[in-house]
Symmetry: C2
Subunit: 336 residues, 2 copies
């Protein structure tokens, strides 16, 4: 194969991304400069954060330029190398693009991976990839819930949320998840071992707040927020004194004007803290996190789900599943 097919941004989406915002382009394989290597991408990680990178201002990373392929984490195999530490045949993970071939430069975001340590190479895009690291450092460093404390996580059946809940349970916390629909709620209890599950569908802030209160009668010590909107406002009404609200994502806001949170006055009443958390803050500790999550996954100590769509032509449908909630596990796009 000497052609690089690329999922290319041609217009900035207004609201939900549409077909006309993208084009499938073909380019010759890039020539390698000294210190570079060519990666054949096998899988790309389809993450909510991608939506933000399509905005003109980007978010915590530069925007994807019009005419360039869409940024995504990928795993693949080095095909050719002019880099001293990356040999042909080596599996790597990195922040690349949704395209069949990417050029690696061995910077902080690209690292070799040991596919023999995990059930499937895709684990490095799920349980041992960015989502797994997000859960790991969020639980083990940012929150550190103790036995007997209560943790509430929204988007709980999602890739990050399901791991956050399991890691918090391993520390002895009382874990309550919010998810959309009866099937996902059943999965929280029976597959991921949550103590309680709350279905947010069809409920306003008052109703959601009452359900959280019933599941967390002592109040919530930690909120791990992936969704925002009514979930966050209802969580704020149930904070324990001195609670910590970690904003990991606000997926309900990514395709429209921000709703924010009405009930931040509760931060004052409960002398609580709300902080934004990005995994990039832990870049220098990625290897430690990857090793920890790969070990837990290999031992079966945490369970995780992957939803794989096949082929670069399905990049947009895969992305849209994140926003309608129809994915069942970490959304991954198979490229080769």
């Amino acid at each position: 194969m000497t052609v690089n097919r690329r999922f290319t941004l041609v217009a900035r989406p207004q609201g939900l991304p549409r077909d006309s915002d993208f084009a499938m382009t073909q380019e010759p394989l890039p020539a390698l400069a000294e210190g570079e290597f060519l990666i054949r991408n096998y899988y790309a990680s389809i993450d909510p954060a991608i939506r933000g990178w399509l905005e003109p201002a980007g978010n915590y990373m530069p925007p994807v330029p019009l005419g360039d392929a869409v940024r995504a984490s990928t795993i693949g195999v080095v095909e050719q190398s002019r880099h001293p530490h990356f040999a042909a045949g080596q599996w790597v993970m990195g922040l690349n693009k949704i395209e069949h071939f990417s050029v690696g430069r061995g910077d902080g975001f690209t690292q070799p991976i040991d596919v023999s340590a995990v059930p499937s190479p895709t684990a490095y895009l799920s349980v041992a990839g960015a989502v797994g690291l997000t859960a790991w450092f969020g639980v083990e460093d940012v929150m550190q819930p103790a036995a007997g404390q209560t943790l509430l996580v929204s988007g709980a059946a999602g890739a990050v949320g399901s791991l956050v809940g399991q890691l918090a349970k391993r520390r002895g916390a009382h874990v309550v998840g919010i998810a959309g629909g009866a099937e996902k709620c059943a999965r929280l209890i029976h597959r991921y071992g949550f103590d309680a599950a709350i279905d947010y569908r069809g409920k306003d802030v008052t109703a959601l707040s009452a359900e959280i209160g019933a599941a967390c009668p002592e109040g919530v010590d930690f909120v791990y927020e992936n969704v925002g909107g009514a979930c966050l406002d209802a969580a704020l009404l149930n904070l324990a004194q001195g609670a910590l609200v970690v904003i990991c994502g606000l997926i309900s806001e990514y395709n429209g004007p921000p709703q924010g949170a009405r009930n931040i006055w509760q931060l004052l009443v409960k002398t609580a803290t709300m902080r934004g958390y990005l995994i990039s803050q832990y870049l220098d500790r990625f290897p430690e996190g990857v090793a920890a999550m790969a070990r837990l996954a290999g031992e079966g100590a945490v369970v995780y789900d992957e939803h794989v769509e096949d082929g670069i032509d399905n990049a947009l449908p895969a992305m849209l599943r994140l926003f309608d909630g129809s994915n069942q596990g970490k959304m991954i796009l198979k490229l080769a």
Copy 2:
């Protein structure tokens, strides 16, 4: 005088408090039990927090019961004592009520004060009282701004805000204040020594954000929020990486449904932290804070303003000035 006149809550306010929510009642002086002392209140502090205490659920303190006098910080003189450490004639400050006489019990909120150390006894309700302590621990403990860092404070011409700005300036920070009207903005610069002042009146979030951006081109390291609403949303759009937003008050929300903040997504983008801050968290360090602020006031190292209304019959008008912004300095009610 053997009668105690009291500013008594008779109905819970809907929105702005009204005359019909209160009654002036008269009661005989209370008899003292062992360990109690009678305080003749000279001045009461009229604070935004009082509005919250009138709500059925209270806020970080129990609600004022219907039929009881309205809670407030006061300073006064011990008139009679059955307490070993409080002798008749001693000046005291404490969390009491808007009434001519209160009963003290020598708990944590009541302490003797040295009126010879300050320009006027009322300093213990302003610069060396709860508002001064709020500024002191907010700047010296919660934020600790360093030279060259930028601090933005809303309600900057208010009792807390004007002191926050001056304390931050003493640490070498670049200090920008938001206030309502040209006169208050001029006072920020010329009387309180702020580096820049922004008049919020007639401006939406976009316009306010642009003015903050012009005054804080490197972004805002610390937001000290007293107001909420558009001020907070505009501040959130100007955060520096890793910024700290301290929620000290949200006075724009106290008389209506909460507006909250739309732009909390910026906490994620800037990996910033927002925390609620109550002076009650520093109860065990009050004497240290009172001493520090009394010394600064005595030396003229900080300037402060007091707006004194005369007579318990003016309790409600004094309270309403907090919400229309017509007070010029710390709002104090003279009782004797």
